[in-house]
């Protein structure tokens, strides 16, 4: 419960704060809250990987992007937009649809199955046997992304020379 409140507060602050860097740091608190929720549910590997990837890499990426682009002064716009009434109706209806779907889903109607104790070994086995094709495709995708980043940076360097 505490973790859920922390996560929601972090992400709400990420939307509501003025200073862009404060927003990213609040989002990082939200990420950490989600990781703590994973750990509380017993998924050690996913929780720790969430911290390593989201807090350690994605948050740093976001702050680098803000550092390179934004000016340090906070924006002069008001925190709540002028169409807040319609926005709140849309948000409430989306929440209602999602909550109804979750309540009528399998976890609530048929009861929860016993909690599986998943070790990292099982995750590795599943990745190497059952999910080998998605793993290889993701490796290919990441290699393409890395090469693309290097090409873009190299092209920029040649321009600067």
């Amino acid at each position: 419960m505490i973790l859920a409140v922390l996560t929601v507060a972090g992400t709400a602050a990420a939307m509501g704060l003025r200073n862009a860097v404060h927003c990213v740091l609040a989002l990082t608190v939200g990420f950490a809250g989600v990781a703590a929720l994973y750990l509380q549910l017993g998924a050690q590997f996913v929780g720790l990987t969430q911290i390593m990837v989201y807090v350690g890499a994605v948050a740093i990426l976001a702050v680098f992007a803000i550092m390179m682009t934004h000016s340090p002064e906070p924006v002069k716009q008001p925190a709540f937009s002028s169409q807040w009434f319609v926005g709140s109706i849309v948000a409430a209806s989306v929440f209602a649809v999602l909550a109804w779907e979750i309540r009528s889903g399998a976890a609530f109607t048929q009861g929860l199955p016993p909690q599986p104790y998943v070790t990292v070994q099982q995750i590795g086995d599943a990745l190497m046997h059952h999910f080998i094709l998605p793993l290889e495709i993701m490796g290919l995708l990441l290699t393409a992304a890395l090469i693309g980043a290097v090409v873009i940076a190299m092209g920029h360097e040649e321009e600067m020379k």
Binding site: H22, L48, I51, V55, G56, A57, A59, F64, M67
Partner: protein, 397 residues
């Protein structure tokens, strides 16, 4: 069992027995939380004490290496110098720039110290002496390490100073670049041990054939992995020769330029504690954790061996700091991406071959050549790209 062996075993378990005895005074409802507190408090007391001793050791050691005395006024041989430093940093005025982001400026050293201390939770300091026996202990350690980078960014950005921002960007680039060889060098050990749990990794290394232990550093891939891990650990904690982001002659003090007094002391402590945690992880992964170096020395308690190895690694850190010149930023990044990353990947291949070859001198030969030859070839190849020659500077005609 003989009387001496029984005494040695009791001495080895003295902290575990003390904790159980203290827990007996607590009602059983509060026992889990008191057990956690009793595990954590010795770590929080012992490692800052080790930090204080290390500052003294470093200043004396560097002084002797630079042909001077080091601190020798405060107490015999300057041994009370850390206390003097502590009093100084506590009584200095806390200056925060007026344009600084006060909330983030305050939280940055807090986050750094908290993240550094969290790394000790998975290190087995003695037999049965680990705070949290996580199934994915090594992953927890690296996840916590990535929190330190965020703290560095927070420090550099919130100070609103050009030196801080430049230093923070360099520091983060360095820490992210060296995290890749750090994790890859430790994956070799995880592959061989078959587990991410630090306790399982140390237990695998605590056995002996004859007098020789089964430490992973005593194998070709383990030795290469250990060297790569230590170099990456030096870069991760921004230690010389990788301390360009905080070098005093380069960038004033980098990301902690605008910090004074106690916050500066917290940064200093966070960096050193991070260094101890990474050394502890190197000891756990490669040097056999709490196990004795020879089988006839197992009567000495396990926690003594852990701290002895930690002190040896700290001495090596101080030695390297006093010996090697500082690397420039592009040299630093080139080292990470062009030398260490291929070496760690080759090390992975070598460890795989070691695992599948039958035990004997042939796999020693194959794996040693697989590690040594690419290292020599790669370093020579990378050196030829840059022409090292004697420069003569003429200042006046």
């Amino acid at each position: 069992m003989t009387h001496i062996a029984q005494l040695a075993q009791q001495l080895d378990r003295i902290f575990v027995l003390a904790k159980h005895w203290l827990l007996g005074f607590v009602p059983s409802a509060a026992q889990p939380i008191c057990s956690a507190i009793l595990s954590v408090v010795p770590v929080i007391l012992a490692f800052p004490l080790l930090f204080a001793i290390t500052t003294w050791l470093e200043r004396k050691g560097l002084g002797r290496m630079q042909n001077r005395y080091g601190p020798n006024r405060v107490g015999p041989c300057g041994i009370l110098q850390p206390i003097a430093d502590g009093i100084k940093s506590l009584t200095k005025e806390d200056i925060v720039p007026i344009t600084a982001d006060h909330a983030v400026h305050f939280l940055a050293p807090v986050l750094l110290v908290a993240a550094s201390f969290m790394g000790f939770a998975v290190l087995p300091i003695g037999r049965n002496m680990v705070i949290a026996n996580l199934n994915a202990g090594v992953l927890f350690f690296f996840a916590v390490g990535s929190l330190m980078e965020l703290a560095v960014f927070m420090a550099g950005w919130s100070s609103r100073s050009k030196y801080s921002l430049l230093g923070a960007m360099r520091a983060i680039a360095q820490m992210i670049s060296y995290e890749v060889p750090l994790v890859l060098a430790s994956i070799v050990v995880i592959m061989q041990a078959g587990s991410l749990s630090t306790v399982a990794i140390v237990n695998m290394q605590a056995t002996y054939t004859g007098i020789w232990p089964h430490w992973f550093v005593l194998t070709p891939w383990g030795f290469a992995g250990f060297v790569l891990f230590m170099v990456a650990a030096t870069a991760e904690s921004n230690r010389s020769p990788f301390d360009l982001p905080e070098g005093e002659s380069e960038i004033i003090a980098g990301y902690y330029t605008e910090y004074s007094g106690f916050k500066f002391a917290l940064f200093f402590m966070g960096e050193y504690i991070g260094m101890f945690a990474t050394s502890g992880m190197a000891i756990t992964l490669f040097l056999g954790g709490w196990s004795a170096p020879f089988s006839f020395l197992t009567w000495i308690p396990s926690y003594f061996w852990f701290f002895a190895k930690l002190l040896a690694l700290i001495a090596v850190f101080i030695w390297v700091r006093g010996t090697l010149p500082r690397l420039r930023m592009d040299q630093l990044m080139n080292l990470a991406w062009e030398f260490m990353l291929p070496m760690t990947l080759l090390n992975l291949l070598t460890a795989g071959i070691w695992h599948f070859m039958p035990a004997g001198p042939s796999r020693w030969l194959v794996c040693s050549t697989m590690v040594a030859v690419p290292c020599i070839l790669l370093s020579r190849g990378l050196k030829h790209k840059k022409k090292f020659q004697v420069h003569t500077y003429h200042y006046s005609e």
